[in-house]
Symmetry: C2
Subunit: 258 residues, 2 copies
């Protein structure tokens, strides 16, 4: 049976794709702005023939990975969210940090974020926002490039050398006139972050917003995350550095507690 | 190609299991207290032969659904969390409610929770806690039975009649001497909840904790969630009813806003 089981596990279509590849492509078709799709839209986005897409959706709905709306559009299933979340190391970090993030948010207002390095980007595992907050491009489970965000610069400053060189080799996309796109400037900034323990990014992603980030170290003193605030790009922005650094220390204490 | 693709999608082992069934069983093997497992443990929990389990893990790691630790133990992958979260309706509700939950938590302390009905249980999509809070059994993405939790009773009171009858038919598990296990008493409580708009559960799950919950209605006036607080089981518990009801109204305004 284990032989047959193994065969089934790696079952591939004529295009050489495994079922798992298709599951991932179907899930990738959804975005924060397209949370519900028709089966046709979903199949096209996932690059699946209509009949295959339809069958795939039926199978995924049956197992709770997707769910159908009253109007037959398809969404990410609650069961998938539950399975992905309840034992997730990502959520574990977030839960430990949350009381500190809430306190910081009560103090700073605007946006408070917790991000981790994933591939060549920062992935945000938490964002607390206020209704009247300054503009911000992140969401929970959203990504930003490392060179253009304060969390990203902090994570890149402490990343393995080969990842740093890969990012420095470019291209470094420009979002505003203030985005750092010169590798030599970025390299100096990374050294400054390692020395200072924080970074201030004024208008890198939007001219009116300043990001400030500090590293959060785990019990082995490795940088595990970055905590950041997004505040208006004005003369008071730097007032938030000290409370942010204090919050990072408290998160570190919680990470290292038995 | 679509024929062959369809065949691959539903590829089954000799036990009649599809790849998707196995994916779900592998993910179900992880729990909040067992976030990292060896491949052997994982295979046993998922009921897979060792070779199949090993191959399944390798495939899932390759696609980011699982990740391996430095010590080769396996965890839920960050990529899976990202795919399940970024377009999740669950997280969308949670994000809209979050500023209100934070404000309520600043006021009440202890635990503030947001739960939705899923199957015959309440699934918690958010929990905010304080370090010195009274005992609480929930976690994010954890479940509780409908009859024994304040959120559960609120959701059950507004659930379809067939689900109500199914739960009332029992069995109604007892957690403390105060848990409601008499269907006639539970039926009266559900009517009271529909009349009063809130419920107070003193010691149903733990003798020292009181849960208080109110419904949150969507733009069609359907109950979409329950917001609840867990506070010490003392004479001041009922003081939290009014702030909780006010918070639910503010969440409803946000859900109905364009």
């Amino acid at each position: 049976m284990s032989q047959i089981g193994t065969l089934a596990t790696v079952a591939r279509s004529s295009s050489g794709e495994s079922v798992l590849e298709r599951v991932v492509r179907v899930l990738e078709a959804f975005t924060p702005s397209d949370r519900a799709l028709t089966v046709g839209e979903l199949s096209r986005r996932a690059g699946l023939p209509a009949a295959t897409g339809s069958r795939m959706v039926a199978d995924m709905v049956e197992h709770g990975l997707l769910a159908r709306d009253a109007d037959r559009r398809v969404r990410v299933g609650t069961r998938l969210w539950e399975l992905a979340s309840r034992a997730s190391p990502t959520l574990s970090l977030r839960e430990l940090a949350m009381p500190v993030l809430e306190e910081l948010h009560g103090h700073v207002g605007h946006h408070v974020q917790l991000g981790v390095l994933d591939g060549e980007q920062v992935l945000f595992v938490e964002r607390l926002s206020a209704d009247q907050a300054v503009i911000n491009y992140t969401r929970i489970a959203a990504r930003l490039p490392l060179h253009a965000s304060s969390s990203g610069e902090v994570l890149l400053a402490h990343a393995p050398a080969d990842l740093q060189e890969q990012v420095l080799a470019g291209p470094l996309a420009r979002f505003t006139p203030f985005t750092i796109t010169d590798p030599a400037v970025l390299r100096r900034r990374l050294a400054d972050i390692r020395r200072d323990g924080f970074v201030v990014c004024c208008g890198f992603l939007h001219p009116e917003a300043t990001g400030i980030a500090v590293p959060v170290r785990d019990e082995h003193r490795q940088v595990a995350a970055a905590v950041s605030v997004i505040v208006p790009n004005d003369e008071r922005a730097r007032d938030h550095i000290a409370p942010l650094a204090a919050a990072a220390r408290r998160i570190e204490q919680r990470l290292s507690a038995p």
